[in-house]
Symmetry: C2
């Protein structure tokens, strides 16, 4: 489950990277309802309270429960431990740094074609 104090931006970035999507991929996948520029700001934490319908669009693309994103955004208390798409990155007691390194490495691996 998403950790309580994990910030929304990091979580969104994890989801996107694991799914191997670019900012613009997501923009298209959401039918332009979330611009790549805005998603960038979300991931970098410059925006902390997006409107729920934005989260809904993202949840659909990332195949995550809408309520999960709402919870991470601080809009709801996290509901009953639903295992979402990136469960691996959240279930194994990874520190924030470890997680980040793994994600970086994942990108590296994929770039090797």
């Amino acid at each position: 489950m998403p950790e309580k104090d994990q910030n929304l931006g990091q979580y969104l970035k994890e989801l996107r990277i694991v799914k191997n999507l670019s900012l613009r991929d997501v923009e298209k996948a959401t039918n332009n309802s979330v611009s790549n520029a805005y998603l960038s700001q979300l991931e970098s934490g410059k925006i902390s309270k997006p409107s729920p319908h934005i989260l809904e669009s993202l949840a659909k693309v990332y195949e995550v429960h809408y309520e999960d994103l709402m919870a991470v955004a601080g809009y709801m208390r996290s509901s009953k431990t639903k295992k979402s798409g990136v469960a691996f990155f959240n279930q194994h007691d990874l520190s924030a740094e470890e997680k980040k390194k793994l994600l970086d490495y994942l990108q590296f691996l994929r770039k090797q074609k």
Copy 2:
């Protein structure tokens, strides 16, 4: 249950009137997290998409399920028919006008001491 197409403002106003609270009463009850001026704008429909934590504060004061308000605001599909505090005003096939007249009359009655 709140009707699908019922707008948020009207619903909030109903709740407040039935509970016999003034705008300022609600402001105080929410610990100043919802100003009376802002609530007025909400009820008049000048603001249609308040941030969820606003709805959370109001739900607490009005003793309504948070999810209900979220649903009425269009942030969630209405969950399983929870009967909220003003069930009377929503269950008896009242038209919008009828409802409004009843609420006005309710205020009139109460004003009679």
